[in-house]
């Protein structure tokens, strides 16, 4: 996994709530045997609709997604995160995330940042204002080491993050390797629970 310490990137707004993983990547793309090739199908059905936020050319090249509460709800499909990552997103900022989706993000080097609804709204408005008509680039910095989100217009907000996951992300560690360090404990548990 690619380490994530600090990322500065263009932000795109998706002002919707309860975005489920069926929308992020519809079922017809779950039929492969690989983790790759999904980026082009991100939000497949919504992309066919003219008003869809990410159809705005001004969002092209965005690597930070700012969105509404309960993002990633529904199906456990990790394909949703693979698609977001391949499309170019490295961080997602929302008031809340579905649990399985959150875990899936952390395992793929995509950082889910939870901020209060008012803070997310501020970022969302700034991103929307910047992208309308593609006037200018709105950039946000997600700093996992410092656990803060900031922009050039004075926005700074700290965020909480589970220290265990944070460490894996910061160092880009393989979680299986990390767990296998506990081998004696696992073997002991098995011996006691025969």
């Amino acid at each position: 996994m690619e380490p994530f310490v600090r990322h500065r990137g263009k932000a795109a707004a998706l002002p919707r709530q309860d975005v489920d993983t069926d929308q992020i990547i519809p079922k017809q793309f779950l039929r492969g045997l690989e983790r790759t090739g999904l980026g082009a199908s991100l939000f497949f059905d919504w992309r066919a609709q003219p008003g869809f936020e990410l159809n705005d050319p001004a969002t092209e090249g965005a690597s930070i997604l700012i969105t509404g509460p309960n993002f990633g709800c529904g199906s456990s499909r990790e394909h949703a995160v693979w698609a977001l990552a391949e499309y170019g997103f490295r961080a997602i900022i929302a008031p809340s995330f579905a649990d399985i989706f959150f875990a899936n993000c952390c395992r793929n080097g995509v950082v889910p940042v939870q901020l209060g609804p008012a803070l997310v709204d501020t970022l969302m408005q700034r991103a929307q204002r910047a992208t309308v008509g593609g006037a200018r680039r709105y950039e946000v910095v997600v700093d996992l080491a410092e656990q803060s989100v900031s922009d050039e217009s004075g926005f700074v907000a700290p965020f909480a993050f589970d220290p265990y996951r944070r460490e894996l992300l910061l160092r880009g560690l393989d979680e299986i390797d990390r767990t296998l360090l506990e081998e004696p404990r696992i073997a002991e548990y098995e011996r006691l629970h025969q």
Binding site: D22, P163, Y164, T179
Partner: protein, 472 residues
């Protein structure tokens, strides 16, 4: 020792090692695998030169994209066939038991493990599927995982998890006739919202829960994820033990007695604290029908399509307006009387034998409305055989339903069973997301009897009133 909840007990019993504050390495007792979320996990193992640590605690089946038509024919969809073949090859290579299309035990993963007695109280059960919460009905901690976690469990038989909080959903009272377990859980989701239980494990308690059969408890726990919960669970009792006794994978003889003794201790201590508590009076719950594009957009069948303008926040107003546009519905329309095109009785929520019996009792001697196409997809081949033994297949066929082989089918439409654009479906499944049952398809979630009655009437009806009308 401090008072503990059922969940605390199961959690404590599975901690291999504390890794950080509230983050633990947990030992997995049963790992269920299906064809869609596992290929990349097996590929990962292979690439790293790893093996499956406990293949004997791992069980695989094919369900998500299997055809539900004639099983004597080869799978005619090459893409689906490739995934089915891949699971077969992976199961052979890593020594995992597999129920493939030819197996009499094949079926939806959350239907087969309980019916085999592989799902047992106190276990930690995982599967690369969000509806793994179903197994919590037995007093197990059962949760869905992504594919990387599936790989992690295959390699280590362990799971890294931050401990979720406890939510008690307490159901008092007695359900009215015509109101099902599905209505209880839909009513709860309607109340607390689809994110209402994020970060929590729900324990369902109260008289109305105790009164449920095992299959009804599975329906309730199944949809815990639709409230955002990590898992749902119900403390085991005599109902649980009676259900498990004599099942193929349940313990026997002295081992059974010892197991039951252990299982009886799986409960929440008096005085144990839940982080959150919700109470719902089951006697006030009416049959539920969803009107929108997530399960929290739900009302009583006697209600009307809501007006987005009445909702409290801007986000909700926009979401509701978008949902109504997708669903092709106008605010204020009574739910009763909305015409439907399709009916789907199936899925891990409501395709067990009791569900099929309930649906059959409604359609017996009647016929599906002329424009409606209706299908029954049993949750497993075992359920199918039992239904056929009881003659339910004939009841459905004579009523004009298609009678299929087991699989997920139109719950997510990965096989040929899909809705067309704009088609409206009364479904017993668990998700009414946009495009879930087919691009542009419109799903209304409800109980098996409600879906069956809708098939006959050709429109959404209140099964309570409808039954009286039928009798009169």
């Amino acid at each position: 020792m401090t008072a503990r909840t059922l969940f605390d007990r199961i959690w404590d019993a599975h901690v291999v090692q504390e890794l950080a504050d509230d983050v633990a390495l947990l030992y997995v007792d049963l790992h269920l695998v299906h064809e869609v979320t596992s290929p990349q996990a097996f590929a990962g193992l292979r690439a790293a030169g790893r093996s499956v640590r406990r293949p004997e605690l791992t069980l695989a089946t094919v369900d998500h994209n299997v055809p539900t038509g004639d099983r004597s024919l080869p799978v005619d969809d090459p893409v689906a066939a490739r995934q089915l073949d891949a699971l077969g090859a992976n199961a052979r290579e890593f020594g995992i038991e597999l129920f493939d299309l030819a197996s009499p035990n094949q079926g939806i993963v959350h239907v087969i493990a309980p019916e085999l007695g592989a799902t047992q109280p106190g276990m930690l059960i995982v599967c690369g599927d969000s509806h793994t919460s179903t197994h919590g009905a037995f007093g197990a901690f059962a949760l869905g995982l992504g594919t990387s976690e599936v790989e992690h469990v295959l390699a280590t038989q362990c799971l890294v998890l931050a401990k979720p909080r406890n939510l008690e959903a307490h159901f008092t009272g007695v359900r009215a006739t015509g109101v099902s377990a599905k209505d209880l859980i839909l009513a709860l989701i309607g109340r607390i919202g689809t994110a209402g239980a994020v970060g929590h494990v729900i324990e369902y308690t109260g008289d109305a829960i105790r009164a449920l059969t095992m299959e009804e408890r599975m329906t309730v726990c199944n949809m815990s994820i639709e409230a955002g919960a990590r898992a749902g669970m119900i403390a085991p009792d005599e109902t649980t033990f009676d259900y498990l006794s004599g099942r193929p994978r349940a313990p026997v003889g002295g081992a059974w007695d010892r197991a039951v003794e252990r299982w009886r201790a799986l409960r929440t201590d008096p005085g144990a604290r839940y982080d959150t508590r919700v109470t719902l009076d089951a006697s006030s719950v009416a049959p539920q029908v969803t009107w929108g594009t997530h399960p929290g957009m739900v009302v009583d069948i006697t209600g009307r399509v809501p007006n987005p303008a009445d909702l409290p926040t801007d986000h909700e107003r926009r979401a509701a307006a978008r949902a109504l546009e997708y669903m092709g519905l106008t605010p204020g329309t009574p739910l009763e009387g909305i015409p439907i095109d399709r009916v789907f009785v199936g899925s891990c929520t409501n395709a067990r034998i009791e569900d099929l019996r309930a649906a059959a009792s409604v359609v017996r001697g009647l016929h599906v409305a002329p424009r409606v196409r209706a299908m029954v997809v049993p949750g497993s081949q075992r359920v199918k055989r039992e239904a056929e033994r009881e003659g339910l297949d004939r009841v459905f066929r004579e009523a004009g339903f298609e009678w299929r082989n087991a699989g997920c089918s139109m719950c997510l439409g990965m096989n040929a069973d899909v809705l067309g654009v704009g088609e409206r479906c009364a479904a017993t499944s668990n998700r009414n997301f946009e495009g879930r049952q087919g691009r542009g398809g419109r799903t209304h979630l409800m109980s098996p009897t409600m879906a069956a009655a809708a098939a006959i009437a050709g429109q959404l009806v209140d099964v309570r009133a409808w039954r009286r009308a039928e009798v009169a």
